[in-house]
């Protein structure tokens, strides 16, 4: 199994210049955003990764370059190995190409990362929100999005907080 993973990662390194890292026996490849669809195609066709297991994103705010990592979990049924792809994205309004054409089940996962983290998916067939209401503003899983508790007011900052406190009468 070790050998198979080595072969695959070396091949991808040669073709797409990916960066390889390892943590707790999990191999992770850093792929540049413009190559992700090509890498997925190659993984599916040449290396037997039949399924996209999971797709998510991580927000590293307040860092800006890269602010987001889109994380793909690849699964190979035949070889029984797994692989992680990470796509770094810069800026506050990033976008990444859809891999729906390679793995159809990316559809909902990509809608989810648009909905929850505000990563725009280029070429998506159904770019709507999925979990939040359709008229929701903001992207809840971003790190600059508050959890939604009430701020505690003390004597010294009572006035200051009172100003921005949501008032049910408004």
């Amino acid at each position: 199994m070790e050998k198979e993973i080595k072969e695959i990662t070396n091949d991808l390194k040669k073709k797409f210049k990916v960066e390889i890292s390892e943590f707790r026996d999990e191999i992770s490849l850093l792929v540049s955003p413009e190559k992700i669809v090509e890498v997925c195609k190659s993984l599916k066709k040449d290396h037997g990764f039949e399924q996209l297991s999971s797709l998510t994103a991580v927000d590293y705010w307040p860092e800006i370059a890269p602010r987001f990592h889109v994380v793909y979990q690849m699964n190979s049924y035949s070889k029984k190995i797994r692989l992680e792809l990470r796509v770094p994205l810069d800026g506050n309004n990033p976008s990444v190409d859809s891999v729906e054409s390679v793995y159809p089940n990316a559809n909902w996962f990509e809608r989810e990362i648009w909905d929850m983290l505000g990563v725009t998916i280029d070429g998506h067939s159904d770019p709507r929100r999925i979990l939040m209401p359709h008229d929701w503003e903001g992207h809840p899983l971003r790190k600059d999005y508050p959890l939604g508790y009430e701020e505690v007011q003390f004597t010294f900052n009572h006035e200051e907080i009172q100003k921005r406190k949501p008032n049910p009468k408004d």
Partner: protein, 411 residues
């Protein structure tokens, strides 16, 4: 004309998902759910119908979204575990298992053998309970009322065992990083033994109600067929994938918590229809019984949780005599333990398929990012493709056979 106006208002956002005939009012748009009994929870579907035939089906989820991932980021690793039960409320023990395994992998914590065996027994019991609920509700959708009443009788036995070990029937939070909350009580082994002795006969009883029931066969055979390549493409896992001829089980492919020590088969059916999925799930219950039997026979004695005080709180009795234990207890329950920078992805086989947790640590005591790759979410999206061309009545059978839990889908 009035109908046309109302359609225009509601279909603006989803125009690309329905046919032009619906916009012109030639076919009917039917709203199903979110409070429909056959949708197994709060799932809303917009169904485009030509007579009784489904042309398009648009699942709409999110009604049960509770922000569990965001909430977990604000809690320490130990406290975040209580959120995991609330995801898939029919597989609470399995969710705990995925979470504690991911945490243990992230902080490199060892688990004693006894705890691993307890975990296997509990998870397999929960798998049977989940399949029983599925069997009852899916059969009831097809008008087989009796199975529902019977299967809830056996589920009750399992819930009683969960209550016996954890004090809770559903939201157990019984597994903890490093082991389990407390050792199983004395009567545990007998209760599980009694259950697995009686269960095979009960399963035969259910099968006598469904397997050769001509009405059930008419409603399920050849309905909702998913070929193998489509099952791969749509990312299906678990009993649905195995019903389509994919011989894959994470317990075999990437064994965790000691599953490599047990002898069990992975049931696979080639047909890919609703009936095949039914067969796979019934056989899975029998295999779970086999695993529990082996686990009970090899039930090792010893500690039930790790002795590593940096991650596992000391036993209550020690607090009165040891200052060090008091300090550890205090530090763990206020600050929690730190996990290193880095991310792990841990998949386990839940009753519905691959339950994967992506856990990223940033060196502090709280998870930086948690993502649940839930089987219900991933499996449900096949519905829009699968429902096409079926009758509305068959759509009910298909929904039942996918076996999703909306708490799991919406998180």
């Amino acid at each position: 004309m009035a109908q046309l106006e109302s359609i225009k208002v509601t279909t603006d956002e989803i125009k690309h998902l329905i046919s032009n005939r619906a916009v012109e009012g030639e076919t009917m748009l039917l709203n199903m759910g979110p409070q429909h009994p056959a949708t197994h929870g709060v799932l809303r579907m917009l169904v485009e119908l030509d007579g009784e035939t489904v042309i398009n089906c648009i699942p709409d989820i999110g009604f049960l979204h509770t922000g569990i991932e965001k909430n977990m980021e604000a809690k320490t690793y130990m406290k975040a575990e209580v959120m995991t039960d609330r995801l898939d409320y029919l597989n609470t023990v399995g969710n705990n298992l995925a979470y504690v395994l991911a945490v243990e992998k992230l902080v490199e914590l060892d688990v004693p053998e006894r705890a691993q065996v307890i975990r296997v027994i509990m998870t397999e019991l929960q798998r049977i309970a989940s399949h029983l609920v599925w069997m009852g509700t899916a059969a009831m959708d097809l008008a087989a009322m009796t199975v529902f009443l019977y299967s809830f009788r056996e589920r009750e036995d399992i819930l009683n065992i969960l209550e016996m070990v954890s004090g809770q029937r559903m939201m157990t939070t019984y597994f903890r990083p490093g082991g389990v909350w407390r050792d199983v009580p004395e009567e545990f082994e007998k209760a599980v033994r009694d259950f697995i002795d009686i269960m095979p006969a009960r399963l035969d009883e259910y099968e006598s109600l469904l397997t050769e029931n001509p009405i059930f066969i008419d409603r399920t055979k050849g309905i909702g067929v998913i070929p193998k390549n489509k099952a791969l493409g749509w990312g299906l896992t678990g009993p649905i994938a195995r019903g389509s001829g994919i011989d894959y089980d994470i317990r075999k492919a990437h064994p965790y918590t000691g599953y490599e020590n047990y002898d069990f088969d992975v049931p696979v059916q080639k047909a890919g229809d609703v009936y095949a999925r039914y067969q796979v799930r019934v056989e899975e219950m029998r295999q779970s019984l086999r695993i529990i039997d082996q686990a009970l026979k090899a039930f090792p004695k010893g500690p039930f949780r790790s002795n590593n005080r940096k991650f596992v709180p000391p036993p209550r009795a020690e607090l009165g005599t040891s200052m060090e234990a008091v300090i550890h207890h205090f530090k763990l329950w206020t600050e929690g333990f730190d996990a290193p920078k880095g991310s792990v992805y841990f998949p386990v086989e839940s009753p519905r398929g691959e339950l994967g947790i992506f856990l990223e640590g940033d060196g502090g005591p709280k998870p930086y990012r948690v993502h649940w790759r839930t089987p219900s979410f991933s499996n449900l999206q096949v519905l829009s493709w699968l429902a096409k061309g079926h009758y509305v009545a068959d759509l009910i059978a298909i929904i039942g056979s996918i076996d999703f839990v909306l708490g799991d889908t919406d998180r």
